[in-house]
């Protein structure tokens, strides 16, 4: 009857809560103890060069990116999925999807000179793939990493060169 319903409802809530709390406790503890622990919160703003909240931002302006593009001093890295990359990208950009950064970065950037600027971009004002890709690259030891926020849209809007289709140089 009603009391059974209430009892079940209470059981569900109590047990769910307990399971959740248990998972939270164990997961945070394990994360804290493991050598490759994940930061609980990534800084929600400009990422600085040494990782933290103060310092120079990694964000690059469209004008600066455009200059580096035409001076051929930068390599643009598309942080989106291969499908999005093939649909349309900055001209001569290389695809380095966020999830594959660790596996592909060294291969993809093998031929890039040390002083070249690596500019990560994705699409949309809320897109965080480029920022995370930049952080991952920094962690891997790459230098001169920058982020072009809302890269693809702004690039297209400014009428700058784009391309589409499969990557020109198969890697």
């Amino acid at each position: 009857m009603g009391s059974h319903r209430r009892k079940l409802g209470f059981s569900v809530l109590a047990q769910s809560g307990a399971l959740f709390l248990f998972a939270v406790t164990v997961s945070l503890l394990v994360n804290h103890l493991r050598p490759d622990s994940l930061a609980l919160v990534t800084s929600d703003g400009p990422v600085n060069l040494t990782g933290g909240k103060t310092g120079t931002s990694l964000i690059i302006s469209l004008e600066e990116a455009r200059r580096l593009f035409f001076e051929k001093k930068a390599v643009f890295l598309d942080a989106r999925s291969p499908k999005a990359y093939e649909k349309g990208r900055l001209a001569a950009a290389r695809n380095l999807p966020l999830g594959a950064a660790e596996q592909m970065a060294f291969d993809i950037l093998a031929d890039v000179p040390q002083d070249a600027v690596l500019i990560a971009y994705c699409d949309g004002k809320k897109c965080i793939l480029a920022k995370r890709l930049a952080t991952a690259l920094l962690d891997m030891g790459f230098q001169n990493v920058r982020i072009l926020e809302n890269g693809y849209t702004r690039w297209v809007k400014s009428g700058l060169p784009t391309e589409e289709g499969p990557p020109r140089n198969a890697l």
């Binding site: 059974h4 047990q15 769910s16 609980l40 999005a84």
Partner: protein, 182 residues
Amino acid sequence: MDKKKGRQEDKEFRKQTADPTIGSAVPAHLPEGRWARFYPGHLVLIARMVLGSVFVYASMDKILHPTGFADIIANYQILPDVLINLTAIILPWLEFFLGLALLFGVWLPGAVFLCNLLLTVFTAALVFNLARGLDVHCGCFGTTIPDDARAPMAWYIFRDLIFFAVGIYLLLGILYKILRKT
């Protein structure tokens, strides 16, 4: 007076007909119920084993590679950045304990409820991204992205729906035992 007697009878009845596959939070009841034939003990056990194993198996790689999983969550572009890492850390362990709970028959009402909740959220996220044309790696069972051997999103959704069906089956089994009484 009646209440006390009712509770004692219920306790007795529970002892005699306790269904070990559902758990003691739910009193066993009249076996000739309308839906009882859909819940023979062995079928419930199989459902629990299947869903439990899926959850435990699904959690393993994600527990081992939280960074990779965080990348996958980021790719969905649904959660705000501040929540991504926390989710990548906590969610796999939640899946793991839910799987264990199902396998060992511990805290089943809560576990089944949470499993269904998670499956709903996962399926919704996949469908949402399919609808907006965003190509995402499921991240359901692992964190490494095979180069081009990725299955179409429709397959991920189909697979999720199967797990979902098993989850709903168990959920209804738990609910039915109570609703039946009213």
